[in-house]
C-alpha cells in the first residue's frame, strides 16, 4: 500500500492541481520540441519532483514509469572505487551526486559523458534526460564541470536539476538553464486537496480540522498529507504534532532558564538525541530560533539572529556539527545572562540606551 502522498500524485501535466499556467507553458514548450536544460527549484513539498515526473511523461510517454535501480561504479583518478545508486528508465537516469560527498564532480562528468555518447532511443526525441536531485548540494567543482558540457552535448542530452534553493547554484549554470520556480500551494489549495483525498479514502474529518492541518503544514503539501494519514491510522481527533518540535521547544526553555555550564552539557545530550532521529540541523536551528524569539526580550532578538546565522554558516563549512551548535548555545546563554544582569542594575536607563 502506497502512502497517500504517493497514491494521489498527479501523473500528467494536465492533472496538476496548482501552478496550472506554468504547466501549460511547459506543455507547449515540449510540443515545440525546443526543450532546454531545466533548473527546478522550490521549497520542500511544493511538488518539484511531481512536475519533473510529469514532464518526463509528457516527453517520452508512459515508458518512463518503468524504472529500475542501477548501481554505478565510478573510479577516481587514484583508483578508488565509488558506488552510487541511480534510478533509471530507458529514457532517463536519476542520480544524486551529493550522496558521494566531495567526489561529486566525478559522478557528474562520468554519467554525463556516458549518456551523452549514447543519445536518445526514440526518433521523435533525440536526447536522454539526466535528473540531478538535490542539485543545491553540488560542490562548486561539480558545477564548474557542468558548464561547458551542458553546451557541448546539448543535442543528445538534457539536464533537469532539482534544487531546494537556487542560491547555491552558480550564475554560469543558471544562465544556461530555464529556471522553473515551483511555488508551494497556498493554504486554501492544500485544504482542497486534503478534502479530496479524505473523501476518496472515506476518512471522516471535519473541515475545521482540515484547515488546521493545512495551516500547520506551512504550505508543505507532503507534510500535510502525511499528517492527515497519521491521524487516520491513529484514529486520533486532533493533530499530532511532530515530537521533535516539542523537544526543541523544551530545549529553548532550558537555554533561558538560569544558564550554566551544566545546561550546556544537558543540551548536548538533547542535540545528540535529535541527530540520532535524523532531524536535519537546519530544521533544528529554525525551530529553535522560532521558539527562542518568542521567549526572549525584544532587545536581544537582533543578537540572537546574528549569532544563529553566524554559527549556522560555520556549521556548514566545518565538519563537526555539535561543536558549532554548542558554541551557539553557549554564546547565546552568555549574551542572555549579561543582558539580564545589566537590566537588573539600571532598569531605567535601559530604554534610553537602546
Amino acid at each position: 500500500m502506497a502512502l497517500w502522498c504517493d497514491r494521489y500524485r498527479p501523473t500528467s501535466l494536465n492533472k496538476l492541481d496548482y501552478n496550472k499556467e506554468q504547466a501549460d507553458y511547459l506543455k507547449r514548450m515540449i510540443k515545440s520540441n525546443d526543450f532546454p536544460h531545466l533548473l527546478v527549484y522550490g521549497a520542500p513539498g511544493s511538488g518539484k519532483r511531481t512536475r519533473v515526473q510529469c514532464i518526463l511523461r509528457e516527453i517520452y510517454g508512459p515508458g518512463v514509469d518503468k524504472t529500475r535501480i542501477e548501481h554505478l561504479t565510478i573510479e577516481t583518478p587514484s583508483n578508488k572505487k565509488l558506488e552510487l545508486n541511480s534510478i533509471a528508465s530507458n529514457y532517463h537516469i536519476e542520480v544524486n551526486p551529493s550522496d558521494i560527498g566531495i567526489q561529486d564532480r566525478l559522478v557528474v562528468q562520468d554519467v554525463m559523458k556516458n549518456i551523452a555518447q549514447s543519445g536518445g532511443l526514440v526518433d521523435k526525441v533525440p536526447f536522454k534526460v539526466i535528473v540531478i536531485s538535490e542539485a543545491h548540494k553540488l560542490s562548486k567543482d561539480a558545477q564548474h564541470s557542468l558548464r561547458r558540457t551542458m553546451e557541448k552535448y546539448i543535442s543528445t542530452l538534457r539536464l533537469i536539476m532539482v534544487a531546494d534553493t537556487s542560491s547555491t547554484i552558480l550564475p554560469p549554470i543558471k544562465s544556461r538553464c530555464l529556471l522553473l520556480r515551483v511555488a508551494a500551494p497556498s493554504t486554501d489549495k492544500i485544504s482542497q486537496i486534503l478534502e479530496f483525498v479524505a473523501k476518496k479514502e472515506n476518512f471522516d474529518i471535519s473541515p475545521s480540522l482540515i484547515q488546521k492541518i493545512a495551516k500547520e503544514s506551512e504550505r508543505n503539501l507532503r507534510r500535510a498529507l502525511l499528517m492527515m494519514e497519521t491521524m487516520y491510522i491513529n484514529q486520533s481527533k486532533d493533530i499530532i504534532k511532530p515530537s521533535y518540535v516539542l523537544y526543541i521547544q523544551r530545549m529553548a526553555k532550558k537555554m533561558v532558564e538560569n544558564p550554566s555550564l551544566e545546561k550546556v552539557k544537558d543540551i548536548r545530550e538533547d542535540f545528540y538525541e535529535l541527530e540520532q532521529h535524523l532531524i536535519p540541523v537546519d530544521l533544528i536551528f529554525k525551530v529553535l530560533i522560532h521558539s527562542l524569539l518568542q521567549i526572549c526580550d525584544k532587545h536581544l532578538r537582533g543578537k540572537l539572529i546574528q549569532l544563529a546565522s553566524h554559527y549556522e554558516h560555520q556549521m556548514r563549512v566545518g565538519s563537526k556539527r555539535v561543536l558549532h551548535f554548542e558554541a551557539f548555545v553557549a554564546h547565546f546563554m552568555a549574551a542572555y545572562q549579561k543582558f539580564t544582569e545589566d537590566n537588573m542594575i539600571d532598569d531605567d536607563d535601559d530604554l534610553l540606551a537602546m
Binding site: Y25, R28, M29, S32, N33, D34, P36, Y41, G42, A43, S46, P77, Q109, D123, P126, H136, K137, D141, H144, S145, L146, R147, R148, T149, E151, K152, I154, S155, T165, S166, S167, T168, P171, P172, K174, S175, L178, L179, R181, V182, A183, E218, R219, D282, F285, K286, I289, H290, L293, R301, G302, I305, Q306, A308, S309, E312, H313, R316, V317, M354
Partner: protein, 335 residues
C-alpha cells in the same frame, strides 16, 4: 533525425556566436591587437580575462577558425573545466599535443606554423596544474601557443601571467547588447510588447550578453509566438515582484520580528531565492526610495555582503535573510 528538429535544438548562444573576429563586439583593443598578430608570425601566448558573457571564448574560437580554417580540429585543443585537468592530464595530454610539430602548409594551403591550446575556465584549475604548465609553455613555443581564459586573473599564478600577453574584456555597453538582442528578435520573429522589455532584459543580465540571449530564448520558449511582456522576462530570470520587496521593507520598518518572519517564510514557500532577494534589496538600498543615512546604508550593505557570501557556501536561506532583516530593524530602531 530530420533537419527541422535539428535546427530548433540549437541554443541561440551557439547560433549567434561570432563566426569571425570582426563580428566580436566592443572589444576593439583586444581585437585590433589580435588582428595585427594574425598578419605577422609573432603570435604571443594569450591570457583573456573579464566578466562572463563578454566574448572571451567566442574571440579565440573565431580567431582560430580564421587562422586554421579547415584544419581547425587538428590544430586546436580545447580543454575546459568539464574535462579532467589535474596534473596528470597536463603532463600527458597537453604535453603530447604541444610536442607535435606542425608544418607551414598542408594540401597546398598555408597555415600559421603552430597549434593553439585553449584552456577555458582556467580559474578552476588547481595551482599545481598551473605550475606544471610553466615550463611546457616555454619549451614548446616553437610549435604551440596557449590561450588561457578566466574570469578572475587573480586566480592564475604569477609565472603564467608573466608568460602571456593579457587582454581584459570589458563588460559590454548597454546599447551594443541592445543592438544584438534586437537583431536576434528580428531574425527569430519575436514580438515584444515594447522596447522596455529589452531594457529590462539587459538590466537583469548585467552586461552579460550570453545571459541576456539565454533569457530571451527561454522567455520565447515559454510563451511561444505570443507577445513577450516585462513580466515574462522577470519570471524566467527569477526576479522577485516588487510588492514582495515592499512587504519585506515594510515589515522591517514596523520593527516587528514576527512580521518579518512571516514574510520570509512565505517567500521561501513561494520559492524565491535568497540570493535574488539580497540582490534586489541591494538595488533598493541604493535607489531613491530608501531614506537611510550613508552610515546606515554602509552597515546594511555589509550585512548583505556577508549574507551573500554565506549563502553561496550553502548556509540556510531563511536564517541569513533573517539576519539581514534584523540588522535593518536595528538600524531603523537607532534613528
Amino acid at each position: 533525425m530530420s533537419q527541422e528538429v535539428k535546427r530548433v535544438m540549437v541554443p541561440w548562444v551557439e547560433k549567434y556566436r561570432p563566426k569571425n573576429i570582426d563580428e566580436v563586439v566592443y572589444q576593439e583593443e583586444a581585437v585590433n591587437v589580435l588582428k595585427q598578430c594574425l598578419k605577422g608570425d609573432d603570435f604571443p601566448n594569450l591570457l583573456f580575462y573579464g566578466p562572463p558573457g563578454t566574448g572571451k571564448t567566442s574571440t579565440i574560437l573565431a580567431l582560430a577558425r580564421e587562422m586554421f580554417q579547415d584544419q581547425f580540429s587538428s590544430r586546436v585543443l580545447e580543454l575546459n573545466a568539464s574535462d579532467e585537468r589535474g596534473i596528470a592530464v597536463i603532463r600527458e595530454k597537453v604535453k603530447r599535443f604541444a610536442q607535435q610539430t606542425v608544418s607551414r602548409s598542408e594540401n597546398g594551403n598555408k597555415y600559421p606554423p603552430f597549434k593553439i591550446i585553449v584552456l577555458d575556465e582556467a580559474d578552476s584549475m588547481t595551482q599545481s596544474a598551473q605550475a606544471c604548465l610553466r615550463r611546457i609553455m616555454e619549451k614548446e613555443t616553437k610549435s604551440t601557443r596557449f590561450c588561457i581564459i578566466c574570469n578572475y586573473i587573480s586566480r592564475i599564478i604569477d609565472p603564467i601571467v608573466s608568460r602571456c600577453s593579457k587582454f581584459r574584456f570589458k563588460p559590454l555597453q548597454q546599447d551594443l547588447v541592445m543592438e544584438k538582442l534586437a537583431t536576434i528578435c528580428n531574425s527569430e520573429n519575436i514580438s515584444l510588447e515594447n522596447d522596455v522589455v529589452l531594457t529590462e532584459l539587459i538590466k537583469v543580465s548585467g552586461g552579460d550578453l550570453r545571459k541576456a540571449i539565454t533569457f530571451l530564448q527561454t522567455a520565447y520558449r515559454l510563451k511561444g509566438d505570443e507577445i513577450l511582456t516585462i513580466n515574462d522576462v522577470r519570471e524566467v530570470t527569477g526576479y522577485i515582484p516588487e510588492n514582495w520587496i515592499d512587504m519585506f521593507v515594510e515589515a522591517c520598518q514596523k520593527q516587528s520580528y514576527e512580521n518579518v518572519e512571516d514574510v520570509l517564510n512565505s517567500m521561501v514557500a513561494e520559492g524565491f531565492s535568497g540570493a535574488q532577494l539580497l540582490n534586489q534589496l541591494h538595488d533598493w538600498v541604493l535607489g531613491e526610495n530608501c531614506l537611510l543615512t550613508d552610515e546606515q546604508i554602509s552597515e546594511l550593505i555589509e550585512a548583505l555582503a556577508l549574507a551573500d557570501y554565506r549563502l553561496l557556501e550553502g548556509a540556510d536561506e531563511f536564517l541569513q535573510t533573517f539576519n539581514v532583516a534584523s540588522v535593518f530593524i536595528q538600524l531603523l530602531g537607532k534613528k
